[in-house]
């Protein structure tokens, strides 16, 4: 833990203008390099002096990482360094994937969305306040979870899939992208690999020190959203304490195909409940072929919280998840009825 905060340590700054140059830098400096996109996660770590790197690679000059374009299959590809504001305002996002627009628009505050990128939003580190304070916990390479002691204040922590670490993923766009079955395009000097959004995020049982599959030397360059769920019915809700500039306590993203009042298919994802967004496959299976009504919604809500294990201060996340999933199945109109 740094003895003094609020002044960034010295580092060497690189400002490449192409992805190739960026990858060459990441290859050269490997673990010594820190990728800087919007800076919302980065500067918090650097100013606190709790994470330090010899080299910072700033993506702000890499134009090819910005923008939204259509893909051959009728979907869209979003450059990883596209700002959240640009995602929110893009007509294709608004037209085809309003769930993503809504999720991105609920991130933090207008100022942060102007600066923060979609790649940064999905790749950001957890906000566990013990870990972020620089405590030498499991996630920081130590051998204790300070958020899971008898005195710990763990109101914002995990109810699912905890494994030594109880931190949660705080992203709002991540569950929307998983619901849309997006693909994450990852490049390194070795080439390109594409992973499902669902597998992009990892929990502590896979790697307790990382939130995503990104390895040193790798860069998330784009997010591809297929046409599969374009125009589907959707539901997104973020429950947060403050109505602007706050992380989710729980959020839910759901896309549904409904035919004559029957749920033909769905993808339902919740976040801020585990170290990774949680896709509710069992709920999706259970509601498939069911009438979209209060009974199905209630059943879905009950199913969603099975296996949840609350900590001392986060038991409220269970009724919250139950009710949010219920509302997702009901749909917005029913919620207001």
């Amino acid at each position: 833990m740094a003895i003094i905060h609020d002044v960034m340590p010295v580092f060497e700054l690189f400002q490449p203008t192409t992805v190739d140059d960026t990858l060459a830098l990441l290859e050269t400096y490997k673990k010594d390099a820190w990728v800087l996109a919007g800076g919302l996660d980065t500067f918090d770590w650097l100013k606190d002096r709790n994470k330090r790197r010899k080299v910072v690679v700033d993506l702000s000059g890499v134009q090819e990482l910005r923008g939204v374009k259509t893909t051959a299959d009728g979907g869209i590809e979003i450059g990883a360094a596209t700002t959240l504001t640009d995602v929110v305002k893009h007509p294709l996002v608004k037209e085809k994937y309003p769930i993503l627009m809504q999720a991105a628009e609920l991130v933090a505050s207008p100022q942060i969305r102007n600066q923060g990128t979609v790649g940064g939003n999905v790749s950001q580190d957890t906000r566990c306040w013990y870990y972020r304070s620089g405590w030498s916990c499991y996630r920081a390479g130590g051998n204790i979870c300070y958020a899971d002691t008898p005195s710990a204040i763990n109101r914002e922590h995990a109810i699912f899939d905890a494994n030594r670490c109880v931190a949660v993923n705080p992203s709002d766009t991540a569950p929307a992208l998983i619901a849309l079955d997006a693909r994450m395009v990852i490049r390194s000097s070795d080439g390109e690999r594409v992973v499902d959004a669902e597998t992009y995020f990892i929990g502590p049982s896979i790697d307790i020190t990382r939130m995503t599959v990104l390895r040193p030397g790798e860069l998330l360059t784009a997010i591809r959203v297929p046409a599969t769920w374009a125009g589907a019915e959707f539901y997104f809700e973020k429950v947060r304490e403050r109505q602007v500039w706050d992380f989710p306590l729980v959020n839910v993203a759901a896309v549904l195909k409904v035919s004559n009042g029957t749920i033909a298919g769905s993808r339902i994802v919740i976040n801020a409940v585990a170290a990774h967004p949680v896709r509710l496959k069992a709920v999706e299976d259970a509601v498939a072929g069911k009438r979209r009504n209060e009974e199905t919604a209630r059943m879905a809500g009950e199913l969603a919280v099975q296996g949840a294990r609350p900590l001392a201060h986060n038991g409220y996340k269970i009724p919250l998840v139950r009710n949010l999933v219920k509302r997702a199945i009901r749909g917005e109109a029913q919620a207001r009825a």
Partner: protein, 828 residues
Amino acid sequence: MADKKLVGQNYTTPDLRAKVTGRSKYAEDFRAEGMLFARLLLSPFPHARIQSIDTRAALAMPGVRAILTADDVPGPKDQVSDAGVVIRANPRSEKALTNEPLYQGEPVLAVAAVDELTAVEAIEKIKIRWERLPFSVDPVASLLPGAMNARVEGNVWVRPTPVQGQPAPLPEVIDLKWTEAEVEEYKAGRLPMGKDTDPSWSYGDIEAGFKKASLILDETFVTPNTSHQCLESRTSMAYWQNGKLFIHLSTQSTVQTVMSVVRWLSIEPENVVLISEYCGGGYGSKGTGTVSDVIPALLAKKTGTPVQMRISREEEHSIGGGRPAVHGRMKVGFTKEGRITAVDMFTVVEGGPYGPGNDGNTASRFASLLFQPEAMRWRGVTAITNTPPRRAQSQPGGMQGIVLMEPVVAKAARRLGIDQVEIRKINAPAGKARFGAADARGNRTYTTSCFVKEALDKGAQIFKWDERKARNGQREGSKVRGSGVAISAYNAGSVGFDGLFVIKPDGRMYIQTGIGNLGTESFSDCQRVAAEMMGMPWEKCELTWGDTSRNLPWSCVSGGSQTTHAMTRAAHATATDAIKKLQQIAAKDLGGRPEDYVVANERVARRGGGAGMTLAHAAQRAIELGGMYDGHEVPKEINAFTKRSAAALAGQGLMGVAKDAYPRDGASVSFVAAFAEVEADVETGVYRILDYLCVADVGTVIHPASLGGQVLGRSILGIGHAIGQRWVYDQQYGVALARRFYQNKPPSILDVPAHMDWAAVELPDPETPVGARGIGEPPVAAGCCAVLNAISAAVGDEVFVRAPVTLDHIVTALEMGRPTQARLTANV
């Protein structure tokens, strides 16, 4: 002041353009030649003792100029008041740096270097051997048998009874633990009413009061610790020139802060030039500066170079201090008509490591004032914890006392089937209302005036209370609405300060003020009274403020809602002095008696028309006449500070200079009544404040726009206490977890009610010549309690037992049918 051109009118304050265009310079904006930058090393531990400090590696770094430790900081010295009374220095008081840090984040040393980066790297090279000591960050936990204490000597303050003619005795620290029976009480969720160590008080027969009550509620409630969240952190910059200290800092008060700097540095007031033209918020935490403000001054002396110390947001969250949480138990008896017959109140204040403060006693006084119980007893304990120092925060003590009391009254009204506005009117104070403890002769203090019932009536009408209350508890889908009302009060004025202005032969009025510019605009608003009385257009008034080298008069502390009252009186006295002088000059030159002349429209002229002269000409005549007219002679009773300033300005024109010596019968207190409507979602616990109204009883309105800003701004501060703002500590490690805004959650702009409005009763205070009182404090508790009471109106009484009330506890309480918040503990 029958014809009011200035008082009661909106205008552009003299600081406004600079603020909105960014030309205003705050402490951090100043630079001096060769200036060094200082950074602090803060204690990482809640309680420790420094065994050794090795600074060799740091001092060997290029660019590092000096290191200041606690050993370099002068100790507090005894003071002698103007009346010759010795005020003993408390050896347990907070110092700028310490070798025994009593909270995580307490400054232990400072490094001055050529830039901040060098200072920070030097700090990382300093090796400290710490002896870690027992600690407690929870006042209630520290009262349990066997628990650790926050100070080596104990966990609770006691204040020995003063002896007549002796210096006030210093507070002492004892080790206080609850008995087994009290622990059982605590386990049942009730604050034990055990041994009290604060100076308790009572009046009336509370047992008889409870006997005649139809309903007795016995409620335990906890108010939150909260940071002040000043937008401007408490940066300071200092240098020495020819033995004089020049210090730029962020402080609420101007001239009064000089006296703090003098005390902290043991120097003479004549040797301090203090510059603070703008202050980005204080809310009580920068009343007369903060002790850490003098660190750059000491480093500047050590290095012979100007030094600036910028305070980061995280540092602000520790050294800036906070409002003390109060754990309270209120046993309140009501007749079936809703009249409060008896209150038995017990408080445990979380006082932080230094103190003791006075929040417990103040809490009880305002609970007694607002609801006028027929009998009342207050007892309390001020506990010591290893958390940041507690400083005054808007409505200190009063806020917590009202937050303990208001939800009980709301609950009683529901139980008794009485309208919420009505039950408050039944118990509200009126006129010269008595409150608090009785003195040795059995007399209780009383207010100068109060119009709470009028505020409630006006508010109920504007808010359409009857329509809204009909919606309480009505469900629409998952949404349910509720409306709440609350009343609040606080001290709103002091007396006895000075005013100073000069009307020069150029026909302009040069007004000096020692009031701080802390954002309330009172530094300017109060002067409008003098300009109005002098018949001077505001455009011809030049205001000087914020720099003690520019000849300012002795003014009150800019805090505690005292300024508008205190300094409109001083302005009135000063204008009265100048008018008298003008009448005499006119009579001398134009004949007749002085009282034949009136001052109006930039002239002094015979009443009803006739001979007269311009004020410009009269100013020239004042210079020619000299003596008292141009300030060469000044009244004996004015403060030495004002005398020095008047001497510097003498001979430039007609001087108005006087001390407020007007009588006052009673204590000046302002009141508000606030109304809020919320809509809660029972499936998520999320609630929004739809509408808010606050009606103020502040006497004469001096400046409507700044009054409205204060009423609604401070309401938002209170609303923050209701909806989310808090401290969070890990009890095992004793350290703060909520270190950033996104964690300690001051309200955001979208948490503020979508619609907010304010109004004033506009009945002048009969005990002050201008009729005006202050307003900064009372809206805080009103904002908090109107929202709390609206929440319970929407979702019921069995939802919360502490503030803030957050969605997690609403959603679980509604599931469980009982409150699920942690009961008696702090900082969760």
